[in-house]
Amino acid sequence: MEMISDGLLLLGGFVAFSGALGVLRMPDFYSRLHPAGTADTLAQLLVIGGLVLRHLDSTGDSLLVVGKLIAISVLLMVTTPTATHAISRAAHLSGLAPWTRRSTDLEEQEESP
């Protein structure tokens, strides 16, 4: 039990860090949406899953705490993709163009063979 929650917590932290790294490194706005929308969802599932296991391990009035953790998880799972979508829609309506490969011959190479 201890090992599993350790693994979940560490994996969640790693996924959260990589998601933020992706947000920092991607070339344009629309590709930055991908790490923000997906990696954060998985990261919060892992981290909060690990914390739930930890709380179930320890004795005490932990049932309420577990309920609150699950409430946080459900809340984030609904709001994170929705917020991502709201931002992308606003950017699209304002006329922000997506970045594509600069040399168009690359795309033709992909499609012609």
Binding site: T38, A39, S88, W99, T100
Partner: protein, 171 residues
Amino acid sequence: MRSFWLFLALFGFWLLLSGQFESPFLIGSGMVASAVTVLICQRLDLISPQFQPLSSFLRFLLYLPWLLLQIVRASFDVIILAWSPRPNISPRLVEVRTHLTHPLALTLLANSITLTPGTVTVDIDDKSLLVHALGEKSARGVLDGSMEKRISPMIPQRWDGDDEREEEVSR
């Protein structure tokens, strides 16, 4: 009926946050606050008349594991892209046609597309969704409409309201 469920949800949230089950004052004030909120919602016409059948919730529970698997795969892809020294992506916008009309079904479809590998929903029209894909493979995966087939039996497609926002909140 809808108001009753809203009241139950609000009151449950109150109990969860306060964590006090003994003091009659706190429970009583929670009930009063929830009731006042429900009354205000009724006056503002925020409670939509339509009622989701229980079976669609059960189907949603069956849909959840598949969605979780997709989330894991998507995050794996994104992590590899984030750490690779030179990300190999060729982004593009694709238009996906859909037959779904129910706002809840559309919301679910858009969120699921966002959570599957390599695709993000950008805009929703009446008949189609605008999807940003990271590569050609993921673009094809969205265009074949397999996700729509998973969602469409879940929610009955009769819809004659104009209220979109509340659908998600009071579900």
